[in-house]
Each structure stands twice: as structure tokens, then as C-alpha cells.
Amino acid sequence: MSIKTEVKKTKITSFIFLTILAIIWVTPMLWILSTAFKPESQAISWPIKWIPETFTTENFAAVLSNTNDAPILKWFANSLFIAVLHTIFILIIDSMAAFAYARLKFKGREVLFWTLMTTMMIPPVMNLIPTYSIVNKLGWIDTPWAMIIPGLGGVFGIFLLRQFFLNIPKELEEAAIIDGATTFQIYWKIILPLSKPALVVLALFTFMGNWNDFLWPLIATNSVEARTLPVGLAILQGTYNIQYAKMMAATVLSAIPVLILFLFTQRFFVKGISLSGIKG
């Protein structure tokens, strides 16, 4: 009885806490939505109006319709293709490496790992030039590969996954070794399935980081057809005349795919699924 009321108490406290925070969090987003559905001249009206006087979808139409020199759908497809491929490669490459750094014994493991870590500390501000040079020599400028491949050397994912792999109890692997499992089977059949939350988080972050990347795709693409969505949208935006309503509409459109992806991954944050193998 007391356990039930305790659980209920925590739920109520959590609910109140979350609601207060959520109101603060949601306000700017409601403002974004409100603005996106206003005609441009009403976007900055004074006094502040939350509900658009004239509700309109003209901004969305404007962003989507200019297909001649602003092929939004093509940019969208480019971004999708690039982000998906990049994320899949990262998941594979980083999980393999993280597994080795967390669980396999080999000479120089610690030294190598910490060296990798130090590269994360240096801001990659000058990387632009050598990366451009290399990508240029490979003939990848103005192709999707310029946005898919160079980031595969990143260390973030390895760091993240290694932390999670370290937390997995060793007994499971030891039992598997006794049963004659190969290293690859341990990786594939034990570690990966138990790390679903971490993998999902990495996939989400990687996808998003790639989707929103701006400066590098700007530099690495030349033709209008090869651009990614953020770069393309920036070109629609005038330099000095801030078109608030259109920009908000473009933002909403841009955020939808990742939001869908995120909603898709909700089930991985429910406790109990990952720990089905570990009890008592």
C-alpha cells in the first residue's frame, strides 16, 4: 500500500515539475508556429498577437513552390540520402571500434583510445581547408559523398558507445565465450542488442548533426541541385530583409523529418526492454 502511494507521490511531483518546465520550453516553439502561419506583414505586428489575425499557409507554399531555382524537394532528398547513409556507416564503424576499445584486449588500446579523445578537444576550425583539398582530389566536390564520408573519422560516437559498453556486465560475455562464441558473435548477438538505447541516441544525434550541418556543405557543393536543405533554404533568405514568417515556415518544414525519426525511436526509452537478459 505505502509503495503504491509513494510511487503515486513521485509521479505527481514529477508531473508538476515537468509541466512548469514544459510551459517555458514550449512557449518559443508556439511562437515559431504562430509566426509561420501569419502573413509576412503581420509577423511582427504590435501588440503581440498569438493567434494569427489572418491564418495562412502561404509561407509554406512559398517555400515549397519555388522549384525552378530552389528545388526544395531535391534538397530534401539530398539531405535525407546523405544523413541516412552517414548515420548507418557511423553506427557500424563506431560500434565496432567502441566494442574493441571497451572489451577487447590488444596492445596499445588505452594509448590509442585516449589519443582519439584528445582530437575532440581541438576545435576543427582549420579543418575546412585540408578537408576541402582532400575531398577535391578525390573528386567528391558537389557530390553527396563529400557530406557522407569525411565525418566518419569522428570520435564522438566511439566515446559514447564505449561508456555504455563498459556498463554491460561481463558475465554475459564470459558465458558466451564458454559456449564457444566468436568475438564477432559476442559483438553482434550480445553487446549490440543490449545497447539499443545508446545506439538509438547515437543514431539520432548523428542524423541530426548531419542534417543541420551548414558551413561544410556550403563549401563542398557548387551546383544548386547538389545542395542540402539548410544550405538551400539559406539561399532563399534575403540578406538584410528578415522574412520572419517564411523563415519560421522553412524551419518547421526542416524539422519535421527529424521529429518523425525521433518519435519513431520513443519505444527505446522505456525501461525493461534492454535488461531482459540480466536478472538477479
Binding site: W46, A77, F81, V84, I129, L215, L218, E225, Q237, Q243
Partner: protein, 422 residues
């Protein structure tokens, strides 16, 4: 779980095909023709870009099979990032737009082609252009830029608010500006919204020269703005906020634009490039005029978009000639560009009937005889930029105008000296 994965795979392969197909197409167009293809870079994003695009498309139509211009547009904020990265790796565009005040520093590093001969071949000469801006494209005796336009700042005013207060003409002097602003400041409405960041530097620059002051010495080493004229010029701006209180305090970036668009400020000083944006604000009935006289003699800051030919590893004279032909075409047809909110640098275009019909552009073009440009020197920016910071601090009342300009001058001169040593 498996079904979404399959769907994802299908989507992927579909995208692969799409991406593969379209990139092949662009390749095919480039091969197999004796057409000269020119890479043209500019920063004209958004609606202005549409006007430039019209001109480029026209050119491509008329020169089909001979010259084809491929445009690459990107936001100005990142333009020079890409320019530096790409050009330093030897992949410069054939022709690009550059701001006038950037030319000396790029010319001094040898990244721009000298245009004297090429310009002469096409009979481009001083008489055809606004002479200050034509002259300003020269650095160390050689020409590097061909001017496309000039874009000065101007006075925008809210016709409705003025009428309400009993005025039917915008102010011409500082005194008139203060008097009218006082009458127009009531409630949450202000006479003028004085920006503390961009474009306050341009307003200050104009005020400085109007007072007979100067910005930087021609050799680019001495700061001339911390003169008594310079201090007076800055004081006039600061007083609008803190003495006469006809402008709100602490306006953050672009806040002054918002206020004008909302109809909460009667006057607004900004570049000619704001015209189309304000036109979009349908309930804003605005007029344009030359900026008021803060000092004794008229002077207005203007920038200018110039055509430059970046230096190539292996210069191709055929391409250079084609590029110049393109440049001349755009300049001759720059009435279309004027519609984007610019003033053509070519006299004949600016004096045409068509241009005079562009009400706002024509109003602002009255300032052409007294436009002022920064002196051409690679260290100009080193000496001048601290002044911009000083202007910001003075407008925020964090330093007095005297102190702000004094500190800026010593910092600026030190920077220039260090740079000149290199």
C-alpha cells in the same frame, strides 16, 4: 521492427538512383561543346537574387552556344569563408562580385586579376560611371574592380505618422530631425530608432564626413576619426538616445528595423537595400529621402558591388574576355538590378527614364554627387573597425564619445602598425 528497416532500405535505393541520375545530367551538359562556361559567384540571396538571375538568364539566352554563365549564390555572411577556402586551393570562380572595401586586401595578396587592359578593350571608362566609385576600384595604380552599383544609406520615414503630427516633408537638417522627432515621440512610439550595432557605423561614417572629419589617413596607418569633428559627429548620434530621448535605448541587432516595420518609429536610417523588405510590410506607408545633415556639408556612406576576376592558376585569355563581355552586359542592363534596390553605377542607366520611375531608388540617388567611400588601403579595416566598437559603446552610454574614439584610435593604429610590419 523489420518492416521499417525494409522501408528504409527501399527509400535509400530510391534516393541513390535519384541522386545518381541528376548528377550525371549536369556532367553531360558541360562536356562536348565549345561553349565557354563561366563560374559566377555572388552573395545575392533571396528576392534580390531573382533580379540578378533575370539578367544572367537573358545573357545566357543571347549567347547560347558561345558563353554560358553558371551562377553560385550563397549568403554574404559565408561568402568570404568559401572564397578564401576555395580560392586558396586553386579553384577560383571565373568572375565574382566583391564589396568595394574588400578589394584592396584581396588585391594586395595577388588574388585578383588586373583589369586595366581588359577594361580598355571594352571601352569602359570613367566618364561612363560615377567617378568616385570608378576611381575607388584602383589599388596601387592598377584597376581591380568594375563597379556594378552603389548602395548608399538613406532616410526612411513613416508618412502616416508624419502626417498625424502635421508634417508633410522629411527633415533635412539635424535640428529639424530633433524637432520633428520630439513631436513624434509619445507613448510607445519614437521619433527615430537609433541602432547600436549595424548599421550605426555607416551612419557615423556619414556624420563624420559631414562634419568635415575623415576616417583614416590615405596610407592606412593613422586614425583620423578621433578629431574634434569626429567626437562631435558621434555626439549627435548619442544625443538622440540619451539627451533628446527621441530614440529608445539599448536596441539590439535589427531591433530598429522591427520598430520601423511595426510603425513604432517615424524615422529610420538604413541602406537602400531595405526598400523591398519594407514594401512587403503592406501596412507601412513609407517614404525615402537623403539622410539629414548632421554636420555642415552633405556626405553619405555608400558601399558598392564590384565585379572582379579572381586570379587563376592558369589564366585563360578566352575566358577572361568572355567574363568581361558578361560584366559589360550586366552593367548595361543593370536597370533590372536597380529594381532589387540598388543604384546602377553606370551613368546612362541611372539617368534613364526607367530608373527615374523607381521612386525610392531615384530619391536616394539624389545623394550620388556626395557619396563617400572608405580610402583604399589594406590596413584601412584594422584602423577603422575599433571605431565601430567605440560607436557601439558610446551609443550604449558605456563610454563618452571622446573616450570611445580615443581608445579606438590607439587600438586601431597599433593594429595597423603590426600588420604593416608583416
Amino acid at each position: 521492427m523489420k518492416i521499417p528497416k525494409m522501408g528504409l532500405l527501399l527509400l535509400l535505393s530510391f534516393m541513390l538512383v535519384l541522386a545518381g541520375c541528376s548528377s550525371k545530367q549536369t556532367d553531360q551538359n558541360a562536356e562536348g561543346s565549345s561553349e565557354i562556361v563561366l563560374e559566377f559567384w555572388n552573395g545575392f540571396t533571396g528576392p534580390d537574387g531573382a533580379d540578378m538571375k533575370k539578367i544572367v538568364d537573358q545573357f545566357n539566352e543571347e549567347n547560347k552556344g558561345k558563353i554560358h554563365v553558371k551562377t553560385q549564390t550563397m549568403p554574404w555572411a559565408n561568402y568570404y569563408d568559401k572564397f578564401r577556402t576555395v580560392v586558396s586551393q586553386g579553384k577560383a570562380p571565373d568572375v565574382s562580385i566583391m564589396h568595394l572595401d574588400q578589394i584592396p586586401s584581396y588585391a594586395s595578396t595577388g588574388s585578383l586579376t588586373e583589369l586595366d587592359e581588359l577594361a580598355a578593350e571594352l571601352d569602359l571608362k570613367e566618364e561612363d560611371f560615377i567617378s568616385q566609385v570608378w576611381k575607388a576600384g584602383i589599388w596601387e595604380g592598377k584597376r581591380y574592380g568594375i563597379p556594378l552599383d552603389v548602395h548608399p544609406i538613406a532616410l526612411y520615414y513613416n508618412k502616416d505618422l508624419l502626417k498625424e503630427a502635421g508634417y508633410d516633408a522629411p527633415p533635412k537638417t539635424y535640428e529639424e530631425l530633433v524637432e520633428m522627432s520630439k513631436a513624434l515621440t509619445k507613448g510607445d512610439q519614437y521619433g527615430i530608432a537609433m541602432p547600436t550595432l549595424w548599421p550605426s557605423q555607416l551612419i557615423y561614417f556619414s556624420s563624420l564626413y559631414q562634419h568635415g572629419g575623415e576616417s583614416v589617413s590615405p596610407d592606412g596607418l593613422k586614425a583620423l576619426y578621433n578629431s574634434s569633428e569626429g567626437v562631435e559627429a558621434l555626439k549627435k548620434l548619442v544625443d538622440l538616445i540619451h539627451k533628446y530621448e527621441v530614440s529608445p535605448k539599448n536596441i539590439q541587432q535589427d531591433g530598429e528595423v522591427t520598430l520601423f516595420r511595426q510603425g513604432k518609429s517615424a524615422f529610420h536610417i538604413n541602406g537602400i537595400w531595405m526598400i523591398n523588405g519594407f514594401k512587403e510590410q503592406k501596412d507601412l506607408n513609407f517614404g525615402t529621402a537623403p539622410i539629414p545633415l548632421f554636420g555642415d556639408k552633405p556626405a553619405t556612406w555608400a558601399g558598392s558591388h564590384n565585379f572582379v576576376l579572381p586570379k587563376q592558376k592558369n589564366p585563360d585569355p578566352e575566358k577572361q574576355k568572355a567574363a568581361m563581355k558578361f560584366i559589360k552586359y550586366v552593367i548595361d542592363n543593370s536597370i533590372q538590378w536597380a529594381k532589387a534596390g540598388q543604384i546602377p553605377a553606370k551613368n546612362s542607366v541611372r539617368e534613364s527614364e526607367e530608373f527615374k520611375e523607381l521612386e525610392h531608388q531615384a530619391n536616394i540617388a539624389e545623394q550620388v554627387p556626395y557619396l563617400v567611400f572608405p580610402p583604399a588601403s589594406p590596413t584601412y579595416i584594422e584602423v577603422w573597425v575599433p571605431a565601430e566598437e567605440g560607436v557601439n559603446l558610446a551609443l550604449l552610454a558605456k563610454k563618452t564619445p571622446e573616450q570611445a574614439l580615443k581608445d579606438a584610435a590607439s587600438k586601431g593604429e597599433k593594429q595597423a602598425k603590426e600588420k604593416a610590419k608583416k
